[in-house]
């Protein structure tokens, strides 16, 4: 989240899209209800289904799965055509004024620089145009035909209400009614927020969905402001923390980059990763990248990381490929992976195309499953239909403590790291994750020391200085993550103290300040709210530096006055900034630097050409159909799907490319009574939502003779599931490209282990992912259906 949960109460308009917070984030959702009832905010839901969130919303619009960019692009077009953007904000805080080079273009569904052979873009053609001084040229009148604003206007001019309706299946009237509300916040006295989740990310265009939301919010001047922002709701209590600490492929802790094979020295890696300023007045905070990276190496390898050995840079793998989840599965499927360890995760049920995953797992030599509960993943070899005699994979299951059996921190969606206490003792013999991982480390290290082995230095030289090195406490780890000054031995209070000379350590620069000489900041329980904006700076601690709203400099105008005096983020007193912890120098005058201190532009990117934070599929979002789509791409028939999508070997033949055999769009999701798969072990929750089911529009059910409460079978090109038919008005037939289109909905929570079994939704889903993240396209694929 750019903002945080409680801040949602400060808004005027809430767009819930790609999410169902009433279902999946009910506790946080209270703040949306609070805004609705407390200040008369309009709550708007856009979704393929009328959800429990829709049930309490002011406005609802049903769309076809995978058409979010069509709708968001429609809003962008509506804003520009009707002059509804926040003019001062756009000029001051975005790159709308930047001039793009003559190389950039977009034609028939392709941006410039596309290479058909590799399915990849050369991003060089998207670069800005520089002036004689080396900095990017700008046009504050927004009239230059090659300024970002004009390019944006042209790009989205195709997204007319008629086109939105044709693609998404809503009516033009409904779209305009919703657009009127969503696009009403482009003034200083109004602000709107967006709540999204994996309904946006789980598409081949997932990253561009979020980009489009950013563009929308920037045009309306809603980023950085209380009550504004783009708020990603994470799916578990600590997904944000896991992401921050590098559970996402392609990053190291704190969003530092994984080295690649061409970066043969630390210097080369740092040069590739440290942006140069594009304008004179940008803070360009990523210029500090070397300090963060070298402090991380010092945390990992201590005295073995020295200037002489590139701070142990060469201990790190420099993988040629990516280690995304799909790529790991693919390696296993191709027989290139010997084994894997999974921890706090049920990868079999959570992955796409389970039949493929069964094969992938069967080709592993070994697999270690660490979890408080026995999981389907650990018992894949005896799943229904599997023949254990044909599977050689050795599976080791290690029961581990549950989070109620440990202390530690949870980082919530709003980036608040909150320390929790242990509630109960684990069952006898059950070990903590830290015990298990420490033992693994020590035993491997001892083996290396006894028997030797190739390239053992990274293991033998790993720092492991804990009171009990066989089971570090989470407090010790938290301190190490926060970081120390090695000279004084004191805990750091800010990442501003990190150095690139090896004199500081930090396991994650973003968390510097979370555990200081003053104590564990994450364990604070102060409820005071001096700002009156629900910021509660004395409650727990959030990254970065306890700053509750990211980019909060943009909550104020050129002179540092809040856009809306009743809802200040930060404001300039003439001497300093007050309010939230400023995302800007505390005493830096408002006109000294751009508001967006993390970008090399100093402003926010409506158009993204950055080689440091690249979008592999275009500097602007564009509507591409899901890889499995029930209809043609109404914008460019010849380029129906995102052109830069990666197809793993052997996957194309598992995809349905015709609508004759697979005529219906399908989407999968969670329900509030369940939490992924773990709740199959909780009797009251099984009682509350007992069976796997299939949601079917009434009209389609009639056509197929399927009765409510009876059974239906749904199949894709990859697999088949059967369950209770839930015939509903909540999914209406849509008119898409002139034809009736149906959507079918399926919940994800069932498997073959636990007190309650049911069909596995991911038997149906395609093994294909987002261009940038490879996040699987769980949310839109094709199926057929029949009554059982």
């Amino acid at each position: 989240m750019t903002n945080h949960w409680k801040d949602i109460k400060n808004t005027d308009v809430i767009l819930v899209m790609g999410a169902n917070p009433a279902e999946n984030h009910p506790c946080g959702f209270k703040w949306a209800i609070e805004a609705r009832d407390g200040r008369g905010a309009k709550l708007v839901t856009i979704d393929p289904r009328f959800t429990r969130t829709a049930a309490v919303s002011d406005q609802f619009m049903q769309i076809r799965p995978g058409t979010d960019i069509a709708v968001l692009g429609g809003f962008v077009n509506h804003i520009i055509r009707n002059g509804l953007f926040h003019d001062d904000y756009v000029k001051l805080h975005t790159n709308a004024t930047f001039i793009v080079g003559t190389g950039f273009g977009f034609e028939d569904g392709l941006f410039s620089g596309f290479d058909e052979a590799s399915n990849q873009y050369d991003q060089k053609t998207w670069e800005y145009e520089r002036g004689a001084d080396g900095y990017v040229k700008r046009d504050y009148t927004l009239s230059d035909p090659r300024c970002v604003f004009q390019l944006l206007k042209k790009h989205f001019s195709r997204y007319t209400p008629e086109m939105v309706a044709r693609i998404a299946g809503c009516t033009e009237d409904k779209f305009l009614e919703i657009a009127k509300t969503i696009c009403s916040t482009g003034t200083a006295d109004r602000v709107g927020t967006i709540m999204y989740a994996v309904g946006w990310t789980m598409h081949t265009t997932g990253s561009q969905n979020i980009r489009n939301a950013a563009i929308l919010q920037l045009l309306l001047g809603n980023i950085g402001r209380p009550g504004g922002g783009i708020n990603a709701m994470r799916g578990h209590a600590n997904v944000q923390g896991a992401t921050d600490h590098a559970i996402v492929a392609g990053i190291l802790p704190g969003y530092l980059k994984v080295p690649n094979p061409s970066q043969t020295s630390l210097q080369a890696h740092l040069e590739d990763s440290t942006p140069e300023p594009l304008v004179p007045d940008t803070v360009n905070y990523w210029k500090n990248y070397p300090k963060f990276m070298i402090s991380l190496f010092k945390a990992w390898f201590g005295d073995h990381a020295t200037a002489e050995n590139d701070f142990a840079y060469h201990y790190l793998a420099k993988p040629p490929g990516d280690a995304t989840w799909l790529s790991i599965w693919d390696a296993a499927y191709q027989g290139k992976l010997e084994g894997f360890i999974t921890l706090g995760f049920n990868p079999l049920l959570a992955g796409p195309d389970i039949n493929r995953l069964f094969k992938a797992m069967s080709r592993l030599k070994w697999m270690v499953v660490i979890d408080p509960f026995m999981l389907d993943s650990a018992e894949f070899w005896k799943a229904p239909g599997m023949d254990p005699t044909e599977i050689d994979t050795e599976v080791i299951y290690l029961p581990a403590t549950h989070w109620v059996e440990r202390d530690g921190s949870f980082t919530n969606s709003g980036r608040w790291a909150q320390w929790k206490e242990k509630v109960i003792d684990p069952p006898l013999g059950v070990k903590s994750d830290t015990w298990i991982l420490s033992e693994l480390f020590w035993r491997v290290k001892e083996l290396y020391e006894k028997e030797g082995g190739a390239f053992s230095d990274p293991i033998r030289h790993l720092t492991w200085n804990y009171i009990n090195p066989r089971e570090p406490t989470l407090e010790e780890l938290a301190k190490e993550i926060n970081g120390f000054d090695l000279k004084s031995g004191k805990l750091l209070s800010s990442f501003g103290q990190l150095k690139d000379d090896g004199s500081t350590i930090s396991g994650n620069w973003l968390y510097s300040g979370s555990f200081t000489e003053q104590g564990n900041m994450m364990a604070r329980h102060g409820t005071a709210d001096p700002t009156g904006m629900g910021m509660h700076h004395d409650w727990a601690w959030n990254w970065p530096l306890n700053r509750r709203i990211l980019y909060n400099r943009a909550s104020a105008d050129k002179e540092g006055r809040p856009w809306d005096a009743t809802r200040p983020g930060i404001q300039w007193t003439g001497k300093e900034w007050v309010g939230d912890v400023p995302d800007y120098g505390k005493t830096t005058p408002p006109d000294k630097a751009g508001a967006f201190i993390m970008t090399e532009e100093g402003v926010a990117r409506i158009f993204n050409p950055s080689p440091f934070f690249p979008m592999k599929d275009g500097p602007f979002p564009e509507h591409y159909e899901p890889v499995e789509s029930p209809t043609a791409n109404a914008l460019h028939e010849k380029v129906p799907n995102s052109p830069a999508v990666h197809y793993y070997d052997g996957v194309e033949e598992t995809l349905a490319r015709n609508t004759k055999d697979y005529p219906y769009a399908c989407t999968i999701y969670r329900v509030v009574e369940r939490e992924h798969f773990v709740t199959s072990n909780v009797p009251y929750l099984v009682e509350a939502m007992p069976d796997f089911f299939v949601e079917i529009p009434e009209e389609l059910a009639r056509e197929k003779g399927i009765e409510n409460g009876k059974r239906a079978r749904v199949w894709s090109k990859r697999g088949s599931v059967e369950g209770v038919a839930m015939v509903t008005k909540r999914i209406q037939p849509l008119k898409v490209n002139g034809e009736i289109a149906y959507t079918i909905g399926i919940p994800v929570h069932w498997g073959f282990v636990g007190i309650n079994q049911g069909a596995m939704a991911n038997l149906l889903t395609p093994f294909i992912g987002d261009v940038n993240t490879r996040c699987p396209e769980f949310k839109a694929f094709l199926v057929n259906i029949e009554k059982v």
Partner: protein, 290 residues
């Protein structure tokens, strides 16, 4: 007569000639207020109710609905009911918390022939005291909301007791405590009525012109009230439009009317109906549930 050992002042006792003990102190009337417009149907209240009251897990099945159970039961005192319907071309998903409303004029208590089986406290809670229950199920027939459920296993009747043990200790009922969207409020009846008025204003401002407070007069008002966005669609929420509690002999006759057909034969029923014709309007058995 054995009564529960709590400190709450009793107002009425079933089948007792004795006036209720006056109690030893003043006690405010309490109430829950369910704001249907804030309810997301997450069922946290349903589960909290089961957990706090140690109610058994029941085998359930999906019958083509998000609703967990087809009906209330001796082990399910609170049920979220789901109902899809279109109003003026707009789809609505009505989600209603179905549980005892704790009537000021409790039809169950008036119908109960077993001394001390049903107790109404001064604070408004109507509690079933299974120790004194004779399993006759007159309360089931006497309830205008179709709430009490008979257990064939224990041959007693059960329903929500508003977490009387929590309330006595100054805590809110479990359903209130757990509600993530503050859709259920709890306090004195006066405060809840005032809050209901505020909520009504909010709903009117949001365009719900027919929004209403549900605190039906026919049962003297209730200690679980609702704020209903579509006040002209009460039966679609599973809320009877004009519930009535029968008092004294009328209560017994009402029971006969509802269960008499198979217990006493058509002749007696006809007589009862004749009597009832001049009495107050009787509860409509079709209005329960939803």
């Amino acid at each position: 007569m054995n009564l529960p050992a709590n400190n709450l002042a009793i107002k009425r006792i079933s089948a007792s000639a004795e006036p209720a003990t006056p109690g030893i102190r003043e006690m405010p009337e309490i109430a829950k207020l369910v704001d249907i417009s804030r309810c997301i149907g997450c069922k946290a209240c349903e589960i909290a109710c089961k957990e706090w009251n140690d109610l058994k897990v029941e085998p359930t099945y999906n019958f083509g609905s998000y609703q967990s159970h087809v009906d209330l039961s001796p082990d399910t005192w609170l049920l979220m009911r789901f109902n899809e319907l279109e109003i003026d071309g707009n789809l609505n998903w009505f989600i209603t918390k179905d549980a005892c409303l704790h009537c000021e004029e409790p039809g169950c208590l008036y119908a109960c022939p077993a001394e001390g089986a049903i107790v109404q406290y001064e604070n408004g809670i109507v509690d079933f005291n299974q120790e004194n229950c004779i399993g006759c199920q007159y309360c089931v027939a006497g309830c205008p909301f179709d709430i009490p459920r008979f257990s064939k296993e224990t041959r007693r009747v059960y329903k929500c007791n508003m977490c009387i043990d929590r309330v006595e200790a100054g805590l809110e009922p479990a359903c209130v405590k757990t509600c993530p969207t503050n859709a259920i409020a709890y306090g004195t009846k006066d405060d809840m009525l005032a809050l209901a008025d505020q909520k009504l204003t909010i709903l009117n401002n949001r365009g719900f012109a027919k929004a209403a407070i549900y605190d039906p007069e026919g049962v003297g008002g209730t200690h679980m009230m609702y704020v209903v966005p579509h006040g002209d669609h009460l039966p679609d929420y599973g809320l009877p439009e004009k519930p009535v509690a029968q008092q004294g002999a009328m209560a017994a006759l009402a029971v006969f009317k509802r269960i008499g057909a198979y217990m006493f034969g058509a002749g007696i029923l006809a007589t009862a109906l004749h009597y009832l014709a001049v009495g107050p309007e009787s509860p409509d058995s079709d209005n329960g549930g939803g």
